[in-house]
């Protein structure tokens, strides 16, 4: 099995008195998808910001291609091939698609003081790259603000892949998408993986993570709660761990108690409690 391309060991990050991350270790190999799962507030966003160079970890080691690295800005990470597609997309709504696509990495022609942005190339490439993703843009001059959520996500991912990302960090790329568009993004994750890119896929939806993931890291309250390969864990168990099985069990007992107390709506409560019980046992869907 190949060596990890990106690896962090015992990373911690503090914001004042808040411990955002504590002793977090994870890795991704080239051509694999590591899924980072966790509920809201689990520390996923902080971990991404550490991985992408926005935050410096307060403790721990960050290795890239076997070497220890220390990023002072996202540019440093990007230069090494670690590209991040943020939840808020890092897109400028008032700027056209092609200007957004190449923002920060503009292709140039000419020399010296006459070096200029190669606009023809930028427009053509934007159209082609999005075409490859199955997104047929109407007009590359359109402001990004006029695109739908799925289209924006696609532009952002296509951009990262185009710029030769070796590691692609995707922050909840499917969260705001409809079923069909989420499918497009998942297919694209697999495509990126097959091209030998190491993908870190952050999500809170195990149903999106399981089909594409090779490796699952579950983050909870700023710490690693579980770390499994696909063979080690079936989907049901992943769902259960994600949902926090124990918590759900407690909740179902409480609801049952409330239902036994009688009163209006107690039948309904009982049904809800049974539902939670089932989910806690991993019998979903």
């Amino acid at each position: 099995m190949s060596e990890p391309i990106l690896e962090v060991q015992n990373i911690s990050k503090f914001f004042g008195s808040v411990i955002a991350l504590k002793d977090v270790s994870m890795f991704v190999r080239p051509g694999e998808v590591t899924c980072l799962l966790g509920d809201n507030g689990a520390g996923k966003s902080t971990l991404i910001k550490v991985l992408s160079g926005v935050h410096k970890p307060d403790e721990g080691v960050y290795r890239y291609q076997g070497k220890e690295v220390n990023f002072s800005s996202p540019r440093d990470a990007l230069d090494l091939g670690i590209a991040t597609v943020y939840q808020d997309l890092a897109m400028i709504p008032l700027m056209s698609i092609w200007r957004n696509f190449f923002l920060g990495s503009e292709p140039t022609v000419g020399w010296g003081p006459f070096r200029r942005f190669d606009i023809e190339f930028a427009k053509r490439t934007t159209r082609e790259e999005l075409g490859k993703m199955g997104i047929d843009i109407r007009d590359p001059d359109q402001p990004v603000g006029t695109l739908s959520g799925g289209e924006r996500q696609s532009v952002a991912i296509a951009r990262a892949v185009y710029f030769g990302a070796k590691v692609l960090i995707l922050d909840e790329p499917t969260a705001a998408l409809g079923v069909k568009q989420a499918g497009v993004v998942l297919r694209y994750i697999v495509q990126a993986k097959q091209r030998g890119i190491g993908v870190i896929f952050i999500t809170h939806n195990p149903h999106h993570a399981y089909p594409v993931g090779d490796h699952f890291v579950i983050l909870r309250r700023g710490q690693i709660y579980g770390d499994f390969t696909k063979d080690e864990i079936p989907l049901e168990q992943l769902v259960q761990m994600m949902a926090g099985g124990a918590d759900l069990e407690v909740l179902s007992h409480e609801l049952e108690k409330a239902a036994q107390g009688g009163g209006p709506g107690s039948d309904e409560l009982e049904k809800v409690a049974e539902g939670f019980d089932a989910e806690a046992r991993g019998e979903t869907d």
Partner: protein, 355 residues
């Protein structure tokens, strides 16, 4: 839209609606200013027809009036598109002019007695340093540039008054034409060109030339793309690797440079400098830029628009003078145009994102 050479998925994309030439034009930031320019010109052409408004002399007067402000507006536009303000630009005009004059004023009069070129060079460096200072303060404190440069507005105006007064006992320094090396530099900055029987300042060429350069930078270079990006979303631009801090500092230095050039040109035109020169120019430049279609919030705008906005500003000023209307009404007019321009721009931006 260019002809799509790829096989179309369907005969016609149901998502694309034919949009007319007009609504496509509406998405250009300069359009509002262009319309306003025509309206203002027509207005004075009718009202001031008897006062010789349609003449080369009036054209020259308007352009001569516009050029020093226009040079400021170019840099202010770039900075505003990048999402920042520079309220100190007017003070820097006074500061830069006094810096030059202090350096060339003879030693016995309290100055340094330098020749023209070294004085210009050093005064330029000093003024650029003030822009650097503004930029670094804004970038490091992350405070609104409005506040920071409001402070520098007073600091640099104060310096422009206090330093010359304590050294030379004056706030107006003249006699630039007596300084060795005056001639060739004056030909570049201070002369008038006779055309169509009217006298045009050479400053107009600087203004138009810099507008072309700045437009090229904004629309055709990577720095231009960064300017739009930083103004649109600071954090997003930083995340994709735009050197936001360096860009902003450079833009504050650009406004300082523009202030210096404006000061230099006026020093040659008026054969000296005045501590109070450039007073209120920061607001006039902002007005010109906003009339020109640039959003106060950044991310959208144009340098051509700033040129048109400056023209409107100067045309109104000149028009009111030659119509013989009480000059007190000028501010009422300008204020009205400003508010109308902002309302119109807001409408245009909504059209742009609805497209």
């Amino acid at each position: 839209m260019a002809v799509n050479t790829q096989p179309a998925p369907a005969a016609a994309d149901e998502r694309v609606r034919e949009i007319g030439v007009l609504s496509r034009l509406l998405t250009r930031p300069e359009l509002g200013a262009l319309v306003a320019l025509v309206v203002v010109w027509l207005f004075f052409a009718v009202v001031a027809a008897d006062n010789n408004f349609i003449s080369w002399a009036t054209v020259a007067a308007i352009l001569n009036r516009a050029a020093p402000l226009g040079i400021l507006a170019i840099a202010v536009a770039l900075l505003m598109i990048a999402g920042e303000f520079d309220l100190s630009v007017g003070s820097l005009v006074g500061f830069g002019g006094m810096a030059i004059m202090m350096l060339v004023t003879p030693v016995e009069a309290g100055g340094f007695g330098w020749t023209i070129l070294p004085a210009i060079g050093v005064a330029l460096l000093i003024t650029l340093a003030t822009g650097f200072f503004n930029g670094v303060l804004v970038v490091t404190t992350k405070l609104p540039s409005f506040i920071i440069t409001l402070g520098s507005l007073f600091v640099f105006r104060g310096l422009a008054v206090a330093v010359p007064r304590s050294a030379t006992n004056r706030t107006q320094l003249g006699g630039l034409d007596k300084v060795p090396g005056y001639g060739p530099v004056d030909a570049l900055l201070g002369t008038k060109l006779e055309l169509f029987g009217a006298k045009f300042d050479v400053a107009i060429l600087w203004w138009v030339g810099l507008t072309i350069v700045a437009t090229w930078v904004l629309m055709r270079t990577r720095v231009g793309n960064w300017i739009f990006g930083v103004g649109g979303d600071n954090v997003a631009a930083r995340n994709v690797g735009v050197p936001v801090s360096r860009l902003k500092i450079a833009l504050f230095m650009t406004t300082a440079f523009a202030a210096f050039l404006s000061a230099l040109i006026q020093a040659f035109q008026f054969n000296g400098a005045d501590s109070l020169r450039g007073t209120l120019k920061e607001f006039e430049a902002i007005i010109a830029v906003v009339i020109g279609g640039t959003l106060l919030t950044g991310g959208y705008g144009s340098v051509i628009g700033a040129l048109l906005g400056t023209l409107i500003f100067a045309m109104v000023q000149q028009g009111i003078i030659i119509t013989g209307v009480d000059g007190d009404w000028f501010k009422v007019f300008v204020g009205g145009i400003l508010v109308a321009a902002v309302i119109f721009n807001n409408f245009v931006r909504q059209q742009a994102t609805k497209r």
